[in-house]
């Protein structure tokens, strides 16, 4: 069919097998699972950006005392409701000017603030620095979210593992409880708990955790059911390894992706509940600031001083968006099939 090309005769010698095996080892280097996950996550620009944004927010919250320009609870009633002013820069919206009866007035001059006094995001009705309150408020909201999520994990993971691992009657009983808890809208459970417990940080955390664990427990149970039947777990059982050892050595590592991803969806949920409770007035008590209380205060003055609500609203939404998107990115990174 084709012309036979001219080829020197010595090329037609049989190769021995060793040569073959050597050439076979050529291939692309393989990545471990975690390396692969990391590579996929960082190749996702959106997720990486969210990670950076969240990292910054967390850093600022941790170092709040150093970063915040003022004491967040220090009142200076004579400086109340000052508009944002960023140094002497004349940026519209950040120049300390306020519309009063149709005229632009320098609000800082009006209250007789000495030169050099400025509040980047303005002050609230008690003359407290809004930027400092937002930094501290974010810190408090994050603390609530992280602690609530931790409690969530501490209840949800063991509950799910026990339910899935034991199966049978234990499982049926535990699932009934889950069913009942999830039949009451989360928020109502949280509100009931908030009414019974004294308002405060601990109560909020307990209240949020009490409802949040259900989803985690469900997911972990379903996964445990699957893992239980895996060969390597069966092997470990046959070899007589103790249940706790199997759980820590075989189950938790394989559940980790589920746990991490679910955590990324629990955190915004907890932030939302805190904000919600504080917004309706049964959350973090005054004078401490959280994103919820700031929104609540901001809403009262929103019609005339919109910046007081915009700032916390943007931060809250930013955290929620970033955690949601990061959660998506992590899910795609852990389970590439889910996205493609």
């Amino acid at each position: 069919m084709e012309q036979v090309p001219k080829i020197p005769k010595e090329k037609f010698k049989l190769l021995n097998k060793q040569d073959n095996e050597a050439s076979e080892s050529l291939g692309t280097p393989s990545l471990t699972y975690l390396q692969d996950v990391r590579r996929r996550l960082f190749s996702n620009k959106v997720a990486t950006a969210c990670l950076i944004i969240l990292g910054l927010i967390v850093l600022i919250s941790i170092f709040a005392p150093a970063v915040a320009p003022h004491n967040p609870n220090a009142q200076k009633v004579e400086y109340s409701n000052l508009p944002p002013k960023l140094g002497n820069l004349n940026i519209p919206g950040f120049n300390g000017m306020q519309d009063m009866g149709g005229k632009e007035v320098d609000a800082y001059k009006q209250v007789g603030a000495p030169k050099g006094t400025y509040y980047i995001l303005g002050t609230d009705y008690l003359g407290r620095d809004l930027l400092s309150r937002i930094i501290y408020g974010t810190r408090l909201s994050l603390i609530v979210a992280v602690l609530a999520t931790l409690v969530d994990l501490l209840i949800g993971i063991p509950y799910g593992i026990v339910s899935g691992w034991k199966g049978g009657r234990v499982d049926t009983f535990l699932q009934r409880i889950v069913e009942i808890v999830s039949s009451i809208p989360n928020l109502i459970v949280v509100i009931l708990m908030m009414i019974i417990l004294k308002p405060g940080l601990t109560s909020i955390i307990i209240a949020i955790a009490l409802t949040g664990w259900v989803t985690m427990a469900r997911l972990i149970r379903a996964q445990t059911f699957q893992l239980k039947e895996q060969e390597y777990v069966l092997a470990a059982r046959t070899l007589g390894e103790s249940s706790t050892k199997i759980a820590s050595k075989h189950l938790i590592p394989n559940l980790s992706s589920t746990i991490i991803i679910q955590t990324m969806f629990t955190i915004p949920n907890a932030i939302f509940f805190e904000a919600f409770l504080s917004f309706i007035g049964i959350g973090i008590p005054a004078p401490n600031a959280s994103l919820g209380t700031l929104l609540s205060d901001g809403q009262k003055a929103f019609r005339f001083l919109p910046y007081q609500m915009w700032a916390p609203a943007i931060i809250l939404s930013l955290i929620m968006i970033a955690t949601n998107l990061l959660g998506d990115g992590l899910r795609d990174a852990f389970d590439p099939q889910s996205s493609d």
Binding site: I180, S183, F272, P306, I321
Partner: protein
């Protein structure tokens, strides 16, 4: 199927009973008297008031009475609001809540399905990115923030809709929009995932190999198959709308049960809180039950009783 529904209804009442019991005893754990918000009462007056509400009886007797009342559809009497029966209170305020709740769910579901389907069809293009971004916004911005923003710009500044009023359809637009954002985001994301899954399935390839155009593949095969599972998130969606309605009704001064609930919390009106808790739970379980039955009706694999071979 009938047997299954009957069993589910039995469970519904069982769950409600447990919830009612838990709420009852939780409320009894509360320190102090429920009348702290009312005018200072003399010990004698307090005694009379307590007797009036049956609070002088042992807790157990109160419990029996309360549960007995529940079976007759009696959720107790409010401590505030002119001692109205809680059922009556709910009855008067149900309509506005139901209206904006239903409107929000319908708007959220329809636009969510559209958004999710478009994202799935145009997967990995800028359309997909935009749709995903919109749904993430819907999920991330709390309804009360959205409500305040909508109220400020669309009502207060630009006068397109009333600020806070409850009379005609116009006044329900803003609360509906504020509440619809979350279901919209949820449905869109869920729909996208489902549809991407369906679009990569073997039967879609077979449909394509039959000579269907891309559009026909979507309308004849992909949409229906991805829509069926979306039914399952109606339950969680109802919860989020319920939650949102509490503040959204407050912000827009809508005389609904959500607004009532928040008011009862701030006034320590325990019977109303208990009654509304039970009522909300009842609604939720009912929605989940209806969804499950609906799912069975529209999915042929479940409809015919056997799970098929998979």
């Amino acid at each position: 199927m009938t047997k299954y529904i009957l069993r589910r209804i039995l469970y519904l009442f069982l769950t409600l009973f447990i919830i009612a019991s838990i709420t009852f005893f939780l409320m009894k754990l509360l320190p102090g008297t429920p009348f702290t918000n009312q005018n200072r009462l003399s010990p004698e007056q307090l005694k009379i008031v307590k007797a009036q509400y049956g609070l002088d009886q042992p807790v157990f007797i109160q419990y029996i009475r309360y549960i007995g009342g529940l079976f007759q559809g009696n959720l107790g009497t409010s401590f505030q609001f002119n001692n109205e029966p809680v059922t009556q209170l709910i009855g008067q305020r149900l309509a506005p809540s139901m209206q904006i709740g239903a409107q929000a769910m319908i708007v959220g579901t329809i636009f969510g399905i559209l958004l999710g389907a478009i994202a799935a069809i145009r997967k990995n293009t800028w359309v997909d990115t935009l749709a995903t971004f919109i749904s993430i916004l819907g999920l991330s911005i709390p309804s009360f923030v959205l409500a305040v923003l909508l109220q400020f710009y669309l009502a207060f500044k630009w006068h397109i809709y009333p600020v806070a009023l409850w009379d005609n359809f116009q006044s329900s637009v803003l609360p509906t929009l504020a509440l619809a954002a979350l279901p919209l985001g949820n449905v869109a994301r869920f729909m996208r995932t489902e549809m991407v899954d369906v679009m990569s399935s073997d039967y879609i390839e077979l449909a394509k190999s039959k000579g269907n155009s891309n559009w026909q593949v979507v309308t004849k095969h992909a949409l229906r198959n991805s829509l069926i599972p979306v039914v399952t998130i109606i339950g969680p969606m109802a919860v989020s709308v319920m939650t949102g309605s509490m503040v959204v009704e407050n912000i827009f001064s809508i005389p609904g049960i959500g607004e009532q609930f928040v008011k009862s919390i701030t006034t320590n009106d325990y019977p109303t809180i208990m009654g509304l808790t039970i009522f909300y739970s009842f609604l939720l379980i009912l929605v989940i039950l209806i969804v499950d039955i609906l799912y069975g009706l529209i999915d042929p694999r479940i409809r015919l009783g056997n799970g098929g071979k998979e």
